[in-house]
Every structure is written in C-alpha cells, then in structure tokens.
C-alpha cells in the first residue's frame, strides 16, 4: 500500500531535491498557537511534518524539546487533543505527510488498537516512538503496520552492520538516521560521518533516509540534504517558540510568524 509518505518521497525524487522535515511539539505553548503553526508549516516549506506528543519523561530529548513538552503539558495538552489537532490540520491539507513522534506510555495507556484507529481516522501517516526498539515490535510496530500506518525506525551511530537488518525489518516509510550519539538539539552533526552512515544504510535498504538530531541551520539542512533524502530540524524550530514567549510564558503576537519565517529560511536549504 502506498502512503502519503511514499508519495512525497516519489515526488521529491521527481523534483530532484531532498526533503525538509520539520518538528514541533503539539500544544506548545498552547493548542491554538500550536495549530496555527502546524497549519502554516507546509507553506513554510515543510515537506513532511513531525508532530511531537508530549510526555513528562522524554529521556532521549535535549533541553529545548523537554521545555516544549513541559509548556504543552502545562497548557493542558493530551494525546486526544493532539489527535484533534491532526484532524483539524487534515481538513485543509490532504497531502502533507504527518508523523506523530514521542514515547510509548501515553499510547499504551490510551490503548494501542484504539490509538491506531483514532490516529488513522485523524489522518496520521506514520509513527516514531523513541522507546520502542525492534525488540519490542509486538507492542505497536506490527499492529501499526497492519493498520496501514508507517512505523519509522531510528538508526543510530551505535547500530552496527550486524544489527542493521533487525532495525530495518518492519520499518516502512523512511529510515530516520540519528546523526549523533546523544539527545536532540545537543551536538552538531558531522558531515563526513553522516555521509558514510547514509551510504552504509543505502547498502541495506531501498527506503529513503532522513537525517536528524543536531541540524540547526539552513547550511546544515543543505549539506545533509546533499547526501540524504531529507533533513530533519526540531529543536532549532522549537527554540523559536521559546524565544517568542512573554514573561508569563504566553505567546507574543508575532510568535507564529516568527516560527514560520524561521522554518521557511531553513527549508531554503533543500530548494
């Protein structure tokens, strides 16, 4: 079955350019502002959107995304509200692939089958769940694939060639290569190391390779885009939200525009 993600990568290939994947945390700093940003992302150059699902204990995330999750939680964000946001987005945008990214516990508590049905109905195309390695595929990955949803796996610098087939098995949509050993938004990716890693992955899979963690600037988006099928930026965009809050943590009037302008600048790296 072909998904919006497959179609998008086919389209990018036809255009002869890499894709730009942008991440925001749903409900950051509140649901209305977050939805306004979400709706503006495609026009700001996002080929694919990753929408974070907030969790109190984001163990693979750096400070920027930790704070985003705390803002969202404080604003009352929940998994059902995130699905509502996707539904509202999907009404106006039938094409842009949207991936939910986060941790397993809120999904587990919501109920896996119930979640997959609701996510599918809302218009979610794929899932990235950081704390579900291939060893736990029975939990969500296999049910998600059966429900026609892409389960996108992270491959990392510690994933050696002996392990790669395990990681690639049951992966669909694309492979997300984590360019550093570390958390989101910390160190910067090393271009040569990424180039080698993508080449290695390409020997094992025909799936598109997106690269993320440690990509912060238009130049990095361009450089990574020259060797991978897509560049992912999260923390740098989320920091723009943080920078446009008033002293009480409320969004300043110019917040949405500032975030989207910044995203547009980043997306120029692949255009």
């Amino acid at each position: 079955m072909t998904t919006r993600i497959d179609n998008k990568f086919a389209q990018l290939k036809a255009e002869g350019r890499a894709g730009f994947v942008s991440y925001i945390m749903s409900g950051d700093p509140d649901m209305d502002t977050s939805l306004a940003i979400l709706k503006g992302l495609p026009a700001a150059g996002a080929d694919i959107i990753e929408l974070g699902m907030c969790f109190t204990d984001p163990m693979a995330d750096g400070v920027a995304i930790q704070l985003a999750a705390q803002r969202a939680l404080k604003g009352g964000q929940t998994l059902p509200k995130t699905l509502e946001m996707v539904q509202a987005f999907r009404k106006d945008d039938p094409d842009t692939p949207l991936i939910l990214m986060g941790y397993y516990n809120p999904i587990y508590i919501y109920g896996v089958d119930r979640f997959l049905a609701a996510a599918k109905a809302a218009g979610v195309d794929g899932l990235i769940v950081v704390d579900l390695p291939p060893e736990e595929d029975d939990e969500l990955c296999i049910p998600a694939n059966e429900a026609g949803m892409n389960f996108i796996r992270l491959a990392t610098p510690t994933t050696d060639e002996a392990r790669l087939p395990t990681v690639l098995n049951n992966t669909s949509g694309f492979v997300y290569y984590v360019s550093i050993t570390g958390i989101t938004g910390a160190a910067s990716a090393n271009q040569k190391a990424v180039e080698d890693a993508v080449a290695r992955l390409k020997r094992f899979t025909d799936l598109p390779i997106a690269v993320g963690f440690g990509i912060n600037t238009t130049e990095q988006v361009r450089d990574i885009g020259s060797v991978a099928d897509a560049s992912v930026v999260g923390s740098a965009i989320v920091r723009q939200i943080e920078n446009n809050l008033d002293d009480e943590g409320r969004p300043k009037p110019e917040l949405v525009k500032a975030v989207l302008d910044f995203t547009k600048t980043l997306s120029q790296g692949v255009r």
Partner: protein
C-alpha cells in the same frame, strides 16, 4: 493466572517477568543493553567474578550483616518474634553498596572507564562514589536539584569521595528526572561509560542483575535463620521504593511457599490523593525508564511525582519483578504512611538503640501493625536496609525540634 513451578526462573530471554520488564529504550542504547546482557551472562557463572565480589563484600563492606533478634521490640509489641537483617551496618550505611560493588566489578571487566549513576536521597550516589573511589574511576552522579537541597550531607559525602554531582533541574528535579538525565548522558557517552542503576528497575538486564547482587541479603538471612532457629522464618517484611532491598531479601525465599512475604510501599499522606509513592497499591501498569511496571500516572499516561517523607522511596515506579510478584499473588504489598513511619522510627530508637533510616521505618511500621496479632512462635525477619543518620534533619523538622536552637543553648 497459573502458578509457575518456580518463582525464581524469571526473567525470560526478552527480559520479561510475565508482562513486566522488557527493553523499552532508544535505539542508541539498545546495542549497549545487549552488550551488558552478554557480559553479565558471562560473568554470572564465572567463579573468579564471585570470588572477588565475596572478598570485597567481606573485607570492605563488612558482610555477612548480622541477623539480630530485636528482643525489646518483640516484647514491646507482644507477639511475633522479630529479627532484623542488619544491612544498615554495611559500609556506607545501607544495602546499596552490595549492588554497586557488583556493577563496578562488571564495569571493570567490560573495560569501561567512566561511571554514571542517578540518586534520590543520595544513598546510591554515595555507594557509587565509594566504589569509584575504591577503584579509581571517575564518577558523575545525577541528582534532582530539589534533592540536592534536601540532602546536603550526602552531597558533601559524594564530593569528598571525588564524585562530580550534577543537579538536575529538568522536569520536577527529583529522582525520576535524575534517571532521565543519566540516561541522556549514557546515550551521549556510549563508548566509555557504564551506568550503575541503583535499584532493580530499568531495561533488562538491570532488574535481574541488581536482584542477583542484592540476593546476598536473603541468602545470608536464610542460612543465619537455619543456624539460629533451625527452621525458616514465617514471614519477611521489607520496604519498597524501587524495591531492590526487598527483592534481595525475598528472592531466595520465593519458592519456600510457607514463608509469607510482605512488601511495604510509601503511603505518604494517604492513598486518597496524589501525595504518596505506592506504585503497586495506587498505580497502574505503564512504560517508563526502559521497563513496563506499575507506575504512578494520570489518565493520559503522564507520570506523577511520588511523595514520601523518605526521599529514598518517592519514585513513581517499581522494579518489574515486584509487579509480577504482585499480580501472581506470591508477595503481598501494603503501605505505611509518613506519620506511621515516623512513629516506627522513634519506636526503634527507643526500644532497640538503633536509629533506622526512614525507608525501613516503613517496613517497621507494618511490623508494628501485624506483630501484636501474631503468635509468639511466629518468626519474622524485617530488612533493616539503612541507618538513619542521613534522616535526622528531616525527622527533627517533623518533630518540631530546632537543631540550630539546641546548638545555641549548649554553647551558651
């Protein structure tokens, strides 16, 4: 649920105790977890590994810890005969050192050159810093900023022992956040770093490995009881935070089904509200810190901060083996509240001349509840897993005793 032939065979090859446990970690850590599992699998049957462990347990930690008949307490409560397994007499003052010793020997065997740990009250941090000093390895301890403030003496102890303490301000700045931060460190420093987890929780193989190191408590207690009374005890009681001291005492007795086993969680201000840390009695299964287990959480799967008068018990989760033992009914889990623990703390000081830590004071509170109703030939072992020196400031505050004022009076 059917009853297994043995309660001691878990976990399975996927790290599961029933539905609990597992390996819910980011891909970056997965190869490290698998490596650790292999290395532990090789060390566990190696007599040379245990020879070194036993030698240091004896000469450095002071094992075996005594099994002590608490006669005055027994008389005061007027029922069951109460023994204390005195792990509070260990070097560093608690059971934590048993596990740290085992893990640092494994870290050395694996050629790791840097140690990290999380700590709540600071006992595990102190024990980790201690073994790092013993072996000359650099040590970084993550500790919630709130706990750093509450536990100044332990912070200073760790500093003296050469550890670097990193106050964690993310989240709510307590133990669970310290654990998140330690995991973030490990994800970043994958080559040289060994993460010494302080309790029988986390991704497989940690829960089983920590249990194996702590089982020295129960193995000794069993032998000591047979020597002393010529029979097994009728019941075991231990407090539960993450649950490593309890599992250490319980595990060697799990297949002795005549032995009644009771775990005591921290009931805080009571289970009606959110101010408690009783994951088993007041939580539900979820996934956090690499394993599925009972957790304190809301209806959206967000983790709730635990509360207890004892900083060593206020973790919102619990080791996965306890979750399994609860569901199959082999171990009973109850709770004791802050004020009950405080009462038991004073009772122990007064009747036995032992100042217990606030953690085992919870176990003692339950002992005080049930012992009077039990016959005099009922033999009970309670795990005195830590001493109370670290808690005197907290207790003084709760009893309205002004330390600064006393100092003022005595120097006048």
């Amino acid at each position: 649920m059917s009853t297994p032939n043995s309660f001691k065979t878990g976990p399975d090859e996927r790290g599961l105790f029933g539905i609990f446990g597992g390996r819910f970690v980011a891909e970056t850590l997965m190869p490290l977890i698998l490596d650790l599992e292999r290395e532990w699998g090789a060390a566990k049957p190696d007599p040379a590994f245990w020879e070194e462990f036993n030698m240091l347990a004896k000469d450095y930690v002071g094992r075996p810890s005594p099994l002590y008949l608490a006669e005055r307490l027994t008389k005061e409560l007027g029922g069951a005969k109460i023994y204390f397994k005195r792990d509070e007499l260990n070097h560093t003052g608690a059971h934590k050192i048993n596990n740290c010793l085992g893990q640092i020997l494994l870290a050395r065997r694996m050629g790791k050159t840097r140690i990290i740990a999380e700590t709540g009250a600071g006992q595990h941090g102190v024990a980790t810093a201690t073994v790092c000093a013993l072996f000359g390895l650099p040590c970084t301890v993550y500790m919630g900023a709130t706990d750093v403030e509450r536990q100044a003496p332990n912070v200073f102890r760790m500093r003296l022992l050469g550890a670097e303490i990193v106050p964690v301000t993310s989240g709510s700045g307590t133990l669970k956040d310290a654990m998140n931060e330690a995991l973030r460190d490990w994800v970043t420093n994958v080559e040289d770093t060994f993460y010494i987890i302080g309790t029988a929780a986390g991704p497989h193989p940690y829960p089983a490995m920590v249990r194996d190191f702590q089982s020295v408590i129960g193995t000794e207690a069993k032998q000591q009881m047979l020597e002393r009374e010529g029979r097994l005890p009728d019941s075991l009681v231990a407090c539960i935070g993450g649950g490593s001291n309890a599992l250490g005492l319980f595990h060697p007795f799990l297949d002795d089904t005549d032995v009644r086993i009771i775990g005591v969680e921290a009931g805080g201000l009571g289970l009606e509200g959110e101010d408690h840390a009783a994951s088993l009695t007041g939580g539900q299964p979820g996934v956090l810190h690499g394993n599925r287990t009972y957790l304190l959480q809301d209806e959206d799967g967000q983790i709730i901060e635990g509360h207890s008068i004892s900083a060593g018990l206020d973790y919102p989760g619990i080791g996965p083996e306890h979750s399994w033992l609860r569901d199959i009914g082999r171990v009973e889990y109850v709770y004791a509240k802050d004020d009950e623990a405080l009462e038991a703390f004073q009772l122990c000081c007064r009747t036995e001349g032992i100042i217990p830590a606030l953690e085992p004071s919870h176990a003692l509170a339950h002992v005080a509840k049930i012992a009077p109703e039990l016959p005099k030939d009922h033999i009970m072992i309670m795990n005195m897993c830590g001493r109370g020196d670290k808690d005197i400031f907290t207790v003084a505050k709760h009893l309205g005793f002004d330390m600064a004022d006393v100092m003022g009076e005595t120097t006048q």
